[in-house]
Every structure is written in C-alpha cells, then in structure tokens.
Symmetry: C2
C-alpha cells in the first residue's frame, strides 16, 4: 500500500466497520439497501477523487488566492471541475433521500466522505459541502416551487449554495441582524442589507450562487424572534426561466490567514432595490430552521479541523521517517551515521500526540454522526434519546478537534524544525488553514456557553444523564477485557470527576446566577472534551483488542497495537490534564 499522504484508509475502515458497525444500520428501512460492498466501492471512489482532483492543487489554491475582478470572484480553474465531479458523481446529494436523486447514505458514512475531501484539500472540499448544507435547508423547509427551482442545479454542482448569516454588527449575536426583507405584492420579498464573511459567496466556478440568508421581515419583533430565512440567489430565474441579475454584489474579498482557496466575501444586497428574496419556512422562524442544520455544520467544522490535522500528522510522520539528524542518546559517537528523527523520544511523543488527537477526534465525530443516524431512523422516546445525546455532544465535537487540531498541526510543524516554517512543505499552510475552525460556526467561547448553559441544563440534565449511561456501557465492556481493565478504571474515575464538577456548577447556577455559573464554561468544555475523547479511545481499544484476539495479517496486528499504544498515551498524558481543570 502506498504510504499515506494525508489520511489512513485503514483507520477509516476500522472506525466505520469495527468500531461503529456501519453495516448494522441496515436494520433500519432507510439504509436497508446499503451493504459493505457498496460502501467500499464509494469509499474507493472518494479516495480517488480526493487524490486525483483535490490533493494536487492544495498549494496552488493557497498561493493563487481568489480575487475580485469585474464584479466576480475569480477562483482556481479546478473549482468548476470539483463542483461538477461532486455533483454528477453524487457526492453533494449523497445524504439526500432518493426522492431528490440522493444516495440516502447515513451521516456516519457521509461524514467520512467529507473528512476524506477535507484531508486532501480543505478549501476545495468546502464548495460542494456548503452547497449540500444549503440545499438541505431548502429540501427541509422550502416550498415545492423553491425545491423545483433550486435543488437540482445545486445538487448537480452547477450552482453554489451558501449560508449568509453574519453582519458587521451581528457576528455571534445573530439577533441583531439588520438585513431587511420588505414584502412585495407577488408574495416574495425585496432584500436590503449587507453580509460579511460569507464563504464561497461568489465565484466563477459555478453558474449561479444561492444564498440561504437570515434577515428580518420589516416590522418583525426585535432579537432572535424576528429573524427569518430566505433564499436569495445571485441570478434569479425570470418568468421565462432565464437567469437575470438579482442585485447581489460582492463588495470585498477578505485576505485571510489561511483557508485561502475558498473566497470569503462581503455582500451588498439590494443596492438597486431589486434584490428578490424567497421566504423559506415560516416567518420569524429562521433561526430555528438554521439551527436544525447547525449540528451538521458544527460536526463539519470538527471534521474539517480533524482532516487538516490528519494531513499534518502524515506529513510530519513521513518526514520523521526520512529525515536523518543526530544520534540516539545511548550511542552519540560522531562516527556513527545519523538516525532518522523518528527514533528520538521527543519526536515520537509529538507524533503520538498528533495521532491521539486526530484519531480520537475522528472517532468522536463519527460517534456523533451515528447518533444523528439513530435519531433519523428511530422515533418516539428512542429518537429523543439519541437527539439529546447528539445535542449535548455537538459543541464538544465542534470544539475539541478545532482547538486541539491547532496544537496538533503545530506539533506536526515542529517535527520539521525550520523546514516546517517554510513553504517547501505543506505544514505552514495546514497551520494557517486549521486556525479558522475555533472561529466559524460559533466560536469556542460560544460552544462552551452552549454546552454548559443550554445542553447540560436542558430537560433537567437528561441529556447529560443519558450520555453518562452510554459512556458507562463502554467502561463496563472494557472492564471485562483484561488488558483494558486499567484504562476502564481510569475512565471511570474521570467520569466521577466530570459528574462532580457538573453537579457543582449546576448548584452554582442556582445560587450565584448565570454570569458566575458560565464564567468558566470554556474550561468546563475542555474538561468534558478530554473525558469524551478518552471514552472514544477506550471504544477503539475494545475493537482493537477484538481484532488482536481474532488474529490477522501482520499489518493489521501492527495497526491494532498502534491503537492500544495510542490509547495508553492518551490516558497517561492527556487525560490527567483534567486534574488541572477540575479546580
């Protein structure tokens, strides 16, 4: 097998099939047509598309950043190919039901495809991914006319979809949105306002751009309760179906630290009072619509961060195997040849740290994806259970990979020394690219507030209790496997700490008020995250132990042993940091 450049195919299959048992989803009618053979075929096609189309232009897309010319944003010429391939090949529609010509794949599988694209080239993967997210909003909440008009060209990759939320005065505070929708006589709206930081907000790799935009209908209530969702295309079909300019102009393309292959734009809407908007769902219910897809978007951020960290891990691993420098401490005589730096303990530590972050994060993200599938497939109380756990885990699945992804990439860069700081290697780009993730789709601070202030408190702590049960189940299984009993005990102890701290904070909420209660929400998020990742490492260890016991090829055995060693590392070096956070 060719040495991995940015991800491990073996790890992906291990997680999908051994840890999360993707095939078992067949029991639900929704996924009954999919079997392993089909999944493997699509996986292979996804690996190939990522490798052939996205990976080769990773650096080019960064160096030749998008720019504004004659009112249009010019992007790398390959963006059109990528959108077409992802459209015609079915990736944009992969998660959509058959009625929209979708493959109806489970989220668990779709998340892996997103990860593969992003590991090859984060910016490149954003175009189709954003389009799928925007299309899903239309398919979930739009009327038949919107669906008929917009869905097919978006899912085919001919039109770009975007999420247009942020305004200069309304970043984290979406209730302060000022973009206004004035009702027109034809039942549509005339939009006036401006939006900032809109990813893929315009570009010449597609024939049209469709903004899923938050705005306020003139006269609607203040705050979040007056926010509505609209479809606002760059070009709108006129009565004859001909595309005409819809008064959406790009006023700026931002110059960013990284993630440069995809333009982030400032949009001006209705400068000529001819910007038509089409309401999606009920008036004043825009934020609720948007939040229904927020879980998917936030898991997407976690996947993107993990994917970049994965690419950085393999880049530094490959370097460390080849780069010779210095000698081992036990034999330093200068007449010996130099040793590959992977033989230095500190380099090994940096690589193990990366592996623990990358594979721990991916596991948690797939866990969350599986919960999303269970929520979709089931109903009643069962559905509510998985929905609650997913809601609780989402801020963690968004933030841990984003925050630790930065540290992980930084350690990857460090493995290369001075070369890591120069653009002869991709590490410096990964370091710039990955920094976006703790910011977009809700900053880490917002995620902390969401976790502690809403998710832990909702339904009197029911979600928290349900997750504790889930984790307890893993602990119990591991306790029955001899080589995992120590890890099982350690996680059990960590859970006690988490439960204690949570109880303490809930009391604080009652006694000292919200401001005090939430002051350390980000630290609580850190603590919770580390426990959650330890849980995932224990889960992976169980699957690896089974694999070892079953006997297998030499390379498989080495893979399983690597899993167990990394779990040991995480429990020894990362899990104890909760003791510092506990205070």
């Amino acid at each position: 097998m060719e040495s991995a450049k940015y991800l491990s195919e073996q790890n992906i299959k291990f997680l999908l099939y051994d840890v999360f048992n993707l095939e078992s989803l067949k029991q639900f009618g929704l996924y009954k047509k999919h079997n392993r053979k089909m999944y493997d075929m699509v996986l292979d096609a996804t690996f190939k598309l990522a490798k052939d189309l996205m990976w080769p232009i990773l650096e080019e897309m960064d160096r030749e950043a998008p720019f504004l010319e004659d009112g249009t944003v010019k992007v790398h010429s390959a963006v059109r190919d990528i959108m077409r391939e992802c459209g015609e090949g079915g990736w944009i529609a992969a998660g959509f039901p058959e009625e929209f010509d979708g493959a109806q794949f489970p989220v668990l599988f779709n998340s892996v495809c997103r990860f593969i694209f992003w590991a090859a080239n984060y910016s490149a993967g954003v175009y189709p991914d954003l389009t799928a997210g925007a299309a899903r909003l239309i398919s979930s909440f739009g009327d038949q006319k919107l669906i008929d008009t917009y869905l097919s060209p978006m899912l085919n990759g001919e039109w770009q979809g975007t999420m247009a939320l942020t305004e200069p005065q309304a970043g984290s505070s979406l209730g302060d949105i000022a973009t206004t929708a004035y009702p027109a006589e034809d039942g549509t709206y005339r939009i006036s306002g401006s939006k900032i930081f809109i990813s893929a907000g315009d570009h010449n790799g597609v024939d049209n751009v469709v903004h899923l935009l938050l705005g306020k209908i003139d006269g609607s209530p203040q705050g979040v309760k007056g926010v509505s969702l609209f479809v606002v295309p760059k070009l709108r079909p006129d009565e004859n179906g001909k595309l005409v300019f819809n008064d959406v102009t790009v006023s700026q393309v931002y110059h960013k630290l990284g993630y440069r292959g995809c333009p982030i734009t400032e949009l001006s809407l209705g400068e000529k009072e001819d910007c038509h908007g089409f309401l999606v769902g009920e008036p004043n219910r825009g934020l609720a619509c948007m939040f229904q897809m927020m879980n998917e978007a936030r898991i997407g951020v976690g996947l993107g961060a993990t994917a970049i960290a994965s690419a950085a891990y393999y880049a530094s691993l490959n370097y460390a195997k080849q780069r010779e420098q210095g000698r081992t401490l036990n034999d330093k005589s200068p007449d010996r040849p130099q040793t590959p730096i992977i033989n230095h303990a500190d380099v090994k530590r940096m690589l193990l740290f990366q592996k623990s972050v990358v594979e721990g994060s991916l596991s948690l993200l797939l866990q969350a994806s599986l919960y999303a599938d269970l929520e979709t497939a089931l109903s009643g109380e069962e559905r509510e259970k998985w929905a609650l756990i997913l809601d609780l885990l989402t801020p963690i699945a968004k933030s841990y990979p984003s925050e630790m992804g930065i540290l992980s990439v930084s350690q990857g860069l460090q493995c290369l020394g001075g070369y890591g700081y120069c653009d002869d290697f991709p590490l410096e780009q990964y370091y710039r690219d990955v920094r976006i993730h703790p910011i977009h789709e809700g900053t880490t601070g917002i995620q902390g507030q969401d976790l502690l202030g809403r998710k832990v408190m909702m339904k009197d702590g029911k979600a928290f209790d349900l997750l504790v049960e889930e984790i307890q189940e893993t602990i119990t299984v591991a306790a029955g496997i001899e080589e995992l009993s120590s890890l099982s005990q350690q996680l059990s102890h960590a859970m006690e700490i988490l439960v204690d701290v949570t109880g303490f904070l809930k009391n604080l909420a009652a006694e000292a008020g919200k401001e005090t209660f939430l002051a350390d929400a980000t630290l609580y998020l850190d603590l919770f995250s580390i426990v959650a990742i330890a849980w995932q490492w224990l889960k992976q260890s169980i699957a690896a132990s089974k694999g070892l016991a079953a006997g297998s090829s030499k390379s498989a055995l080495r893979f399983y042993e690597g899993k167990l060693a990394t779990a040991q590392y995480f429990f020894k070096s990362e899990l104890p940091t909760i003791r510092g956070l506990q205070t």
Copy 2:
C-alpha cells in the same frame, strides 16, 4: 497617556525599578555611572524610535517580503534607516564596554530595549540585534585585527552581522557541520560549503554582511570537537582597505510562514575558491565560543516571543474595549444596546490569560537578565552561583515564552473572531510571526534535553539547589504579607512537586539509562516552567503589594490591583496544570 498599542510602558518601569531594582546595580563598578534619570531618558528614546521608525512599517515589511534580485536580497527601504539609527543612536553598542564606544548598559536594561523594538516590529528589530550578537563574538574572541576591521562598522549599523550555523544535514546536530576551512599560506582560511536558514544573511540595507560562521578546519576531529568559528564577510577589505567580493553568494531566500520582514537565506561559500575566512578564537573551539553567547541569544528568543505576544495582547484588549457584540447574560433583552465584548466573562478570561503569559514571561526574562549582570559584575563563588542559576533558567526562559506565546497570540486572535483571521488587523501576522520561536536557537525538544539532561544534572544538581533557594526566598517574603500568604503556600506546594519529580527523574537516570530518563524531558520543561512563572508572579505581587501599601495615583493603584488579580488568575488557572504533568 495614549492607549498602549503593543506594550505597557508602566509595566516595563514597574519591572525594571520596582521588581528588579535596576538602580541597585550601581553598587558594581561596571554600572556605577548609570542612574534612573539616564535610564528613563534612554527608555523614552527607545519607545520613540520603536514607535516612529519600526511600528509604522510592521505590515508593509510583512506584505513586501524580501526577494533575491541580481544576487542581492532586496529588503524594505526602511531597513537602512533602522540600522543607521540603531547604530548611530548607540543601541547596537548599548551593551558593549566603553572601550568599544558602548554604553556599558546592564543586560537587564538591554533586554528591555530589545523587547521594546520587537514589540513594535519583530522583523525590524532582528537586524540590529543580530549585528550586536555577532559583534560581541568578535569582541570576546577575535584578535585585535578582527576587532579593528569589523567592530566599528558593525556597531555603527553600516555592516550587518549574522550567525551562520545551520547546514542541510546539520540542524540541531551541529557536530555534523561539513563546511570546510582550508588553511591558506597567509594564516587565513579558504572556506567551502553551504549554509541554510541564515537570518539577514544578505540584504541591501547595509554596505556589507559579516557572517560568524561555524566550519571545520580540514582534517579536524569528527563531531562537535572539530568545529571552529570564523569571520566570513560578504565583502572583504583588500590590502588597501577596499572592499572586494569574498565569494559568498545567496542561492535562495526562503518563503516563510511569518517573520517575513527579515530574509532567511541559503548561502553558498567558495564556489570560486576565493572565500576567505578568519579564525575567531582557538581552532576546534568554535562551539564553545558560540555557546558563550547562546544564553543571550536564547533569552533574545524568549524576549522576541514575549514582545509579539504583548503586541497581540494590546491589539485584542483595545479591540475588546471597542467592539460591541451581544449582551451580558444577566440582561439579554434585545432592546438593550449591545455591550463591548470585554464585558463577556470568556473574553475577560482570554485577556487575563494573555496578560499572565506576557507579563509573567517578561518578568522571568528580566530575572534571567539580572542574573547575567550579577555574573558579569561579581567574581569567584558568587559569580559561579549566578552563572549556574542563569544556565539552569535559560532553556525555560527560551521555551515558555515561545510555546505559551503561540497560545497567547492565538487567544488574542480569537478575541477578534472572524476579524482576527483577516489581515485588516495585525493578529494574523502576529500569529504567523510568533511561530518561529519554538524552532530557532534550539527547538523546544532540544531545550528540554538541555534542561534535564545537562543543567539539572550539572555539578551534582547544584544549580537546581541554588534556584530552589532563590525561589524559597520569595516564598518567605510573600508569606509575611497577609494578602499573599495563600499564593505563597501554593507556590511552596508546587515547589515540593517540582523537587519530587526532579528527584524521581534523577533516580530514573541512574536506573534506566539516558534514553528513558530523557523521554519526557519536554514535559518536565513544561512543569518547571509553570512553577518558574508562578514564582515571578509572586515576585511581582510582592512589589505590587508594596506599591498599594505606599498609596499612589489612581492609575498606579489600578495597575497594582491588576497585577494582583493576574497573579490570582495564574495561580488558580495555570499553576494547577502541573498536576496533570506530574504523572
């Protein structure tokens, strides 16, 4: 007072005069001429030069990065002004004795000047700083002819000085240097080889470039014992004093993540067999010469990292005071105006974290600088004492500011949300710039090995014992101040942990061999660093308590209260992380 843009003048004076009592150095003959009035005047001139000449071109120097044209590296036109001002104004020679027309300032004061320049513009400050370092090597180890030829134009800022150590196969492993010096009949050498990653290795802002270069005299022993130090100028004075080309060519300017205002070059030496080198000091003693100045260089790295983190802290602090977004948790009604984000607890936490890193690091670096002065001023056992403590502290003073500086700048960037990721604000540049510091002058991994493998072990642990006494003294003083007694106890407990861990590791060295002993050296460095910074916060708290007790202006009182609050933060949130590292 104008709001600070990149540093706090008040903090600098507090550290110099209240914490480290700069004036008391007058007791030593070397510094007897310097008084507070003089220091204040030079400080003001330094603030002004940084503000007028360096700060305004911070972004320009980044955007218009150096490039190679017609064999010369073209840099920003202001570099010539900066070198001239720093030369003629006396900054390059500030630390040199009077015999070289230097101001003979203590290291403690010089470190502050380096910090001020670097906070305004890191790249700009590197040119004069490198020149001073190279000139010091010549003044310490060069013969009279070298001193007569090179010192004056370097100290005047007409010639650039560099450190030329690294080669493709010899990065961290300097013993593997292959650049060869062939003895010539005239007693000089002909140099042949190549060097990489040489900062300011060539540029058009000076009339000549003088490389302090490590090479091997043909036939010398293998490894570090065969390395010699040479002066290798770009242009050498011929017998008539006319500058002629010395066969040093630039083959490449690296494209770097940050620190772009200063070129890093690849040099080719002796392609035409006419590269003259001049031995500095004894043959085969080059590494010893180089290491004598390594303390200064490594403290310089710490200062540079702290300076960038300081600039990022003030940029994010000023933004947080002005940017209005959201409402406080206790009153979220949308008809209230939005609040400046500094009122959000999580933003406050991010700012406090930065302040604790920046001011804690600067304090430690000035502490190390003071030890350097005591070493210089004293003799015999006293001298050895301070030399040992300085040796022990140096890897910490290099690494903590570098590693935590990255996290600190990242939190600064985070305070700005999406704006922090764009180049409308300087945060993204600081984020790129600061990443160099854990790499150059010995990576963090190397510093960990140095701390545990050499410094802690040397002279049977004498340096460690002496530092423990120093810290104990601070603990004792703080114990006598009521409001500091709890912090004093906490540090005392942390010291017990540090002493225990150190003892454990020393036993491990004896029992399990070097490889095992040093495997976790970087984690030991982390633990030691946090304790050292806590010590500095306790020291600052003592001075702040005295200031509060003495009564003072309203702004001074607020400043002292800010110090105590930050110390509380550090002890509550940062110090406990040693519990995770202890295991």
